[in-house]
Amino acid sequence: MEVRLGRRGFLKDGFIALAAAATLPPFLARAAGSAGERRRKLVVVFLRGAADALNVIVPHGDPSYAPLRPTLAIPRSAVLDLDGCFGLHPALSAIAPFFGHGQLAVVVASGSPDPTRSHFEAQDYMESGTPGLPATREGWLNRVVGGLPGPGSPWWAVSPGPNLPRILSGSAPALALGGLAAAPRGGDAAALETMYRGSGDARTRAEASAAFDAVRALRAAERAAGTRATYPRGALGEQLRRIASVLRADLGVVAAFADIGGFDHHVNEGAVEGQLAERLRELGAALSAFWTELADDAGDVVVVTLTEFGRTARENGNRGTDHGHGGFMLVLGGEVRGGRVYGRWPGLAPEELHDGRDLPVTTDFRLVLGELVLRHLGSSRVDRVFPGFDVAAAGGFLGLVG
């Protein structure tokens, strides 16, 4: 937590002006670590349950699409067209304007190269960043902040829940804001702070000092957070609201994580309306509110979505879809070269389908994330964030940012 100027990387990257830190209240300055610096941020939103890529980014121009989905296909007339070939599901209307303004990009046929169709394994691989290697202990987002130069701050990586998700777990410090929010208040908090700051154990003192500062900083940030935006009801809106408040308070956040469940639609998925549409409406409204809330700060932020895999190209006998392979990613940000559809589209012709049933993966999810880590966050350690991943062999970066 303390600022040390001796670190070479620290000075070289010019992370903090000590003078700027000195003008902040001491606890905020300690918490911020890099306050005053215009720092770029990455927000990862995980769509758990394997969202149906073909009905989110609808390939309405692919002649095979509609026949594969007699009851589930989104009619071309309802699709929010992006480029004549692909269109957004109509329930994503809240974020469609971002595509027009060039801030939203979509990556089709993206996902993990690992063939597993287990939610558990596939999510695990996407959070560890090492498909096929279940033993990886750290999440890739933790490695991102662990590889940043400078003295480090738990504020570098935050998640709004009560405890850290897999993607943020690891040796680099990170904050679970939901846990902080539960901290005692008032006289109880003051008594505890006296006890802990007076502990005979140096490590306890240091940790507690960081904890009490973090609680104060979070509460100050949440008090200061305005109501520029109306978030939709539901867990995702609540999570993004909390993330927006700490981003706006300039506490030094580099990476944040949120998730939304309920995308596993084996039965009655629905088309223009229905179960998937409801989830997408919540997603779109929450992202749009988040963007509105960030306002001027949004230029430094990139939001990227993940989902563990896609679903079968053909609808099943229950008006739903089963576990498939290729998925999609949404990339939203001030510096994103948006308004374009990225990724090679293999087509949905029978001979193109993975195992004869699923959209293939033509873009490894690490290619998108690696580019964001390198070109957006400015970390040169893509090889450490995604060990064993060969960017060149995977086809090279897509040119999403910069």
Binding site: D124, P162, L177, D188, A191, G198
Partner: protein, 610 residues
């Protein structure tokens, strides 16, 4: 009864009574009070071999004799647990096998079989209600979303809450009858309309079987999984066989499985009851074999799916099914040799080949272990440079023999025991001694523990309080220290979930960490301190603390505080903590003081360690 058996029975009875009594059996007590140093040693023993001291327990153990107490803890079969057993009757699934569980609380595949007419639903009214409701859920999902749209959201927002309110006002025995009087579709709608707190309220005071029915209507898997988690908490808090509970937990982390994967909710109870607990203090090889053959482990690490590529089945499916290395890798890396164990990818594959054919018969139906020769890879294998001759199922056992005898395994188990019981970075000389005890005893866990507890390092001053409690240890020890009456442990399980340590919920095979870095940090501290205050204020549903009785009820706050410090912290409290609590209590209303003081002491830096 032959004379010898009578003699043993007598010994058992005498030994049984002593450690279990927390006071009443005064005639067996030694008259003089133990020295403070001896009480401190007892506090240490209780915090390491168990989940912390209950009020007065440290003095009790010191009087009984600490070494004697440890000897008894190493033989849990001699400790009477009648009281706990009676409490555990509240969780009837603990005694059922996977097959019965899967029939009673049906997983998806069983419901599907009934819906297709391949299987009859049970005949008893409760069983029929559970199936009817699951079938209704299935119909609802397959029928078409429109029907749910017409009725669903609007209905659950407006009409049902009134019904829910009426339901919650009913006496316990009336609630289930009322829910079951509804058509299955409406049962689902009603249960969905309840908020989590209301659902909890709905279950309060129900008989175990009524509660099971109600839980099963919404989520059959939650019946066995929830009861296991509740029982784990109750055992840690109210169990007399503390070392057995600690070691059961130790091995459950070492041989971790994840309750939220597939069929595991129905397999986990048998795993703990039949594979882990009976061997927790026994021979490592027996434990290793029991986990290897257990349906829970075979399912969790996918070995049940593994097929040798040259096996009859592998050849027939043209590579669509193949070798799964998941179990083999974790067996080497986590269960035995360790990541630095010097094995190669080739070893992993060869071990996986040895274990091909170790599979399950219909895990979702509770089917058990079976060896399927059609999946087994033919030919000799080479593991760690040793040839394993083709021998079918026997090959896996040979691999386990090889691994259990390997000095690297001895060293790894020794290190993990030292980390759990001594410190995060235990002296390597201690680990050496434990590893030697492991090897010399042929992997006898009890012998290794005896060596550990007899080692001066275990009792050394720097080791006292060196371990940061994990959330499980914190929650269990706080409830024990406070002498709380736990009516229902469910809210404590929820507390653990929020702290990131819900029972059986570590998804990755490495199990929960026992090191401080995993459980420290700002969010953790906030939650731990908040929990302690809520506990003593009576804000944890189902758990009652009598702080006034705990504090002795003197009119002088300082006197009450001194007593609380003795009871909750064994009297070891820093001046800073003492002053901070005293100042805070002085500013509080008299009727709140004892709960506040107790809460702050359980939230203190002192109580976070053991």
């Amino acid at each position: 009864m032959p004379p010898r058996a009578v003699a043993i029975a007598l010994i058992v009875v005498v030994v049984e009574v002593l450690p279990a009594c927390a006071g009443p059996n005064a005639s067996l007590r030694v008259a003089e009070d133990p020295s403070p140093a001896e009480v401190q040693r007892a506090v240490h023993a209780l915090g390491r071999l168990g989940f912390g001291a209950r009020p007065g327990e440290a003095e009790e153990v010191a009087r009984f004799g600490i070494e004697r107490w440890i000897a008894v803890q190493l033989h849990p079969e001699r400790i009477d647990e009648g009281a706990l057993s009676r409490r555990l009757l509240a969780f009837p699934t603990l005694d059922l096998g996977p097959e019965d569980l899967a029939r009673r609380f049906p997983p998806g595949p069983v419901v599907r079989a009934v819906s297709r007419g391949e299987l009859a639903a049970p005949g008893d009214p409760d069983g029929r209600a559970i199936y009817e409701t699951q079938l209704a859920r299935r119909r609802e999902r397959t029928k078409g979303h429109a029907t749910e749209d017409d009725r669903g959201p609007a209905a659950s927002d407006e009409i049902l809450p009134e019904e829910a309110e009426r339901l919650l006002l009913l006496p316990p025995e009336g609630r289930v009858a009322y829910v079951l009087s509804l058509p299955p579709e409406d049962r689902l709608g009603l249960l969905r309309a309840l908020r989590p707190a209301e659902r909890w309220q709905l279950r309060r005071g129900l008989s175990p079987s009524d509660r099971e029915v109600l839980v099963a209507l919404s989520a059959p898997a939650q019946v066995p999984a929830g009861e296991l988690a509740d029982a784990k908490l109750l055992r840690a808090i109210a169990g007399e066989r503390q070392l057995l509970e600690v070691m059961t937990d130790f091995w459950e982390d070492h041989f971790n499985v994840f309750v939220h994967k597939g069929a595991i909710p129905w397999l986990l109870g048998a795993y703990e009851r039949d594979a882990i607990r009976p061997h927790a203090l026994g021979r490592f090889r027996d434990l290793l074999g029991a986990t290897a053959r257990s349906p829970a482990m075979l399912f969790y690490l996918d070995n049940w799916l593994s097929v040798g590529s040259r096996s009859p089945r592998g050849l027939r499916t043209f590579g669509r099914e193949g070798l799964n290395e998941n179990y083999a890798r974790e067996l080497l890396e986590l269960h035995t040799l360790g990541a630095e164990g010097g094995f190669t990818q080739r070893d992993v594959e060869e071990v996986a080949r040895c274990f091909t054919g170790w599979t399950l018969q219909r895990p979702f139906w509770g089917g058990g272990f079976t060896f399927d020769p059609r999946r087994h890879e033919p030919g000799d294998k080479v593991v760690l440079g040793q040839i394993i001759r083709e021998a079918g199922q026997r090959e896996g056992e040979e691999v386990l023999d090889l691994l259990a005898q390997d000095p690297r395994t001895a060293r790894r188990i020794a290190l993990r025991l030292a980390v759990r019981f001594v410190s995060d970075d235990p002296p390597s000389t201690l680990v050496d001694r434990l590893a030697a005890a492991f090897e010399n005893s042929g992997g006898d866990i009890r012998t290794v523990l005896l060596t550990l507890f007899g080692d001066p390092t275990f009792w050394a001053t720097p080791v006292r309080g060196a371990k940061l409690k994990t959330p499980l240890e914190l929650v269990a020890s706080a409830v024990r220290a406070s002498g709380a009456a736990v009516e229902e442990p469910e809210a404590l399980v929820e507390t653990l979930r929020k702290m990131g340590m819900a029972p059986y919920s570590m998804p990755t095979p490495n199990g929960y960490s026992w090191r401080a870095d995993a459980w420290s940090g700002a969010g953790a501290l906030a939650q731990r301190t908040a929990f302690a205050l809520r506990l003593c204020r009576g804000e944890i549903p189902g758990v009652q603390v009598d702080s006034v009785a705990l504090a002795g009820g003197a009119s002088d706050p300082a006197q009450d505080l001194a007593r609380l410090e003795r009871v909750l912290l064994g009297g070891v409290v820093s001046p800073t903590t003492h002053e901070a609590v005293l100042a805070r209590v002085a500013a509080a209303r008299p009727e709140e003081r004892d709960a506040l003081a107790a809460g702050l002491l359980l939230a203190s830096p002192e109580f976070q360690r053991r």
